[in-house]
């Protein structure tokens, strides 16, 4: 599903997600290599049929969170025991319970920012990115199944889309 420059794409637009799911299943059974699937909303049950592995984004989130935990806890520890030891209200320099709220907040902050930034980077999305979308109605009510014309023969793709009930069939060079 890699997106190359100047790819000729043959795609069909379906009117309902059930039709799309059916078509994707058929394509997988017929060993047709799918370029990508575009939908107006997350269609449930699509990922396993497409063979998409579970996203590892949350694992990245855990690492970012752990970084936040360490930054906060080790930072406060260093500041209050080495750089600026001060006694507040007769408490010890290293007063761990009082560090917990900030440690928690920074864990959440690092995880959230890290994951969101990672999400946009790995998707290739961001301000100024010109959308390479195939059809304006994909964000409205059309469900799109696309084949790369260099991988799947154009005629074959078109007849497949037709046979699975695509309402419209087009091709476009991205």
């Amino acid at each position: 599903m890699a997106q190359h420059n100047h790819t000729e794409v043959v795609y069909g637009l379906y009117n309902d997600e059930e039709d799309l799911l059916h078509a994707v299943k058929e394509a997988q059974n017929g060993h047709l290599d799918i370029y990508d699937v575009f939908t107006p909303f997350p269609v449930h049950g699509l990922d396993p049929i497409l063979g998409l592995e579970e996203s590892r984004l949350h694992q990245a989130g855990f690492i970012y969170g752990a970084l936040g935990t360490m930054t906060a806890f080790l930072g406060m520890t260093w500041i209050f025991t080495k750089d600026w030891p001060n006694i507040f209200g007769g408490k010890p320099y290293w007063s761990v319970p009082a560090f917990i709220p900030i440690t928690f907040e920074l864990t959440v902050l690092f995880a959230a920012i890290g994951m969101t930034v990672t999400f946009y980077i790995i998707n290739g999305l961001g301000p100024g990115v010109v959308s390479k979308h195939l059809d304006d109605r994909i964000t409205d009510d059309k469900f799109c199944l696309a084949f790369d014309a260099a991988v799947v023969d154009k005629q074959k793709a078109e007849s497949f889309l037709k046979s699975t009930g695509a309402a419209e069939i087009h091709s476009k060079t991205l």
């Binding site: 997350p42 990922d47 750089d83 900030i102 990115v129 010109v130 959308s131 979308h133």
Partner: protein, 470 residues
């Protein structure tokens, strides 16, 4: 493939909508020229905001002496307003995060606007501690960074600094959550637009395509952000309550404060969501998406959290008596029967009695009553914070320093000004972004549309699913 839907499930989207009709209904308010009501509301909001900005500048120019605080009552309207606005923000996160984890489908009708409300409310809240510092140009001293002042670090053991971290994290995470949800909907706006408008929305939508892998990651991100926001929102008001609970002031120094504050925050937040949504659905004609079902669900949350708040008030009173500690007993005697008795009774009436009306189903579904009570609850929650803060401080340990307080015009102006800020932001949001999450509503259409579920279901969807199972 589609979910099996219980036949007793009531529809969440009415009007026999198709996917395209949903796009039309929800995107078109951003495409039309503003209505007369919007323009009037916007002019009013900006005027009020301008006056608020003037009062803030006045405070900075003249100093905190322009407020009526004194040595005894050194926190009053400022911190009351701060806690009040922060509390209002909590409903947005509750709806978008906690209800996402609980897979509550009615969330999709109101989450977008509620999250926007959270962000604007937190902005209003954050203003108060900043201007209360007095020397706002030294505000960066609250941030820990290596500096040439010593180095001099902030006190990490102080709840006031925990607040800085809690509120800034809360604002940041809420913004990220909200914006990531908006990206696919901005793409929908983009794909309907032409010319400059299309360029602007292309930038806002980050080049979104709707690819299957992107949606998968988007759902993964939403779920983890929801998982992070849930403890975060509970921590924020817990930490706000620590501002009081870690002190040695009778009436503040109580372990009940964190859960009590969190329940109160959700209570007032839902009231504000209801106030806003009832107006929004009417003016933008969103009755098919924000249905009476949604209102009833929110009223149930109001009833639950209002009752928790009631239990907290009574527990506080009981523990004050049971502690045998004369200062604690006096603090509560003073709240109820002291010079500010009217705010205590206002709080009791608005927060304890008014939500109990919602035990009755037909009243929960009555929009006029809901609108009225949502405002009553917000007044009550403002009183609660005033009672906790100003009333308690007015009668401290030393009778010779007892004092009274009424706000100066500057303090009133700043408070009123935050409404200007809040509504200016909200009105701009209503114009530039879909108020209801378009993609998310589409994703629940077959489980929540009235042609699929409920008594008027024509597609016999549940029947179909039933059939498939055999």
């Amino acid at each position: 493939m589609s979910a099996v839907v219980s036949p007793i499930r009531r529809p969440l989207i009415t009007g026999n909508k198709s996917y395209h009709q949903i796009t039309e209904d929800l995107i078109s308010p951003t495409e039309k020229t503003p209505t007369k009501e919007w323009v009037l509301g916007f002019i009013l909001s900006v005027t009020v905001l301008t006056f608020g900005v003037f009062c803030i500048l006045w405070t900075i120019w003249v100093g905190i002496g322009s407020w009526n605080l004194n040595r005894t009552i050194n926190w009053s309207w400022d911190i009351t307003n701060f806690v009040w606005w922060i509390g209002i923000g909590h409903a947005g996160t509750l709806i978008s995060a906690i209800l996402l984890l609980f897979r509550q489908k009615w969330r999709t009708g109101v989450n977008r606007a509620a999250e926007a409300m959270t962000i604007f409310a937190v902005m209003c809240a954050g203003l108060f501690p900043l201007i209360h510092m007095g020397r706002i140009w030294l505000a960066m001293f609250i941030l820990p960074y290596p500096n040439t002042r010593g180095p001099l670090w902030p006190n990490f053991n102080s709840p006031l600094l925990w607040d800085v971290f809690a509120i800034s994290t809360y604002l940041t995470v809420s913004l990220l959550f909200w914006y990531t949800g908006l990206v696919p909907d901005f793409a929908t706006v983009r794909d309907r637009a032409k010319g400059l408008r299309r360029k602007i929305y292309n930038t806002l939508s980050f080049g979104w395509t709707g690819s299957a892998k992107h949606w998968q990651r988007w759902e993964s991100l939403s779920l983890v952000l929801a998982g992070l926001s849930t403890p975060l929102v509970l921590s924020v008001h817990t930490i706000v309550s620590f501002d009081f609970a870690t002190s040695v002031i009778p009436g503040w120094h109580t372990t009940i404060f964190p859960p009590y504050f969190v329940a109160g925050a959700i209570f007032s937040g839902f009231a504000m969501v209801l106030t806003l949504m009832l107006i929004t659905r009417k003016l933008l004609h969103l009755e098919d998406y924000i249905t009476v079902e949604h209102v009833e669900s929110m009223n149930k949350v109001i009833l639950l959290t209002g009752t928790i708040v009631c239990v907290a008030y009574l527990t506080e009173l009981f523990i004050a008596w049971y502690s045998g500690y004369v200062y604690e007993q006096f603090a509560f005697f003073n709240r109820a029967l002291g010079p500010y008795w009217w705010s205590y009774f206002g709080m009791m009436f608005c927060n304890v009695i008014s939500p109990q009306f919602f035990w009755k189903k037909s009243w929960r579904r009555n929009l006029t009553l809901t609108f009225f009570l949502s405002i009553v609850v917000n007044i009550g929650m403002w009183f609660e914070r005033f009672v906790i803060i100003a009333t308690t401080l007015a009668r401290d340990y030393l009778p010779s320093s007892w004092s009274l307080y009424s706000p100066s015009w500057v303090e009133i102006g700043i408070y009123v000004g935050t409404f200007g800020l809040f509504f200016t932001c909200y009105l701009i949001f209503v114009r530039v972004a879909p108020v209801v999450a378009v993609a998310e509503v589409k994703s629940i259409l077959k489980a929540g549309g009235d042609q699929y579920v409920g008594e008027n279901a024509s597609h016999g969807h549940s029947h179909h699913a039933h059939h498939e199972n055999h």
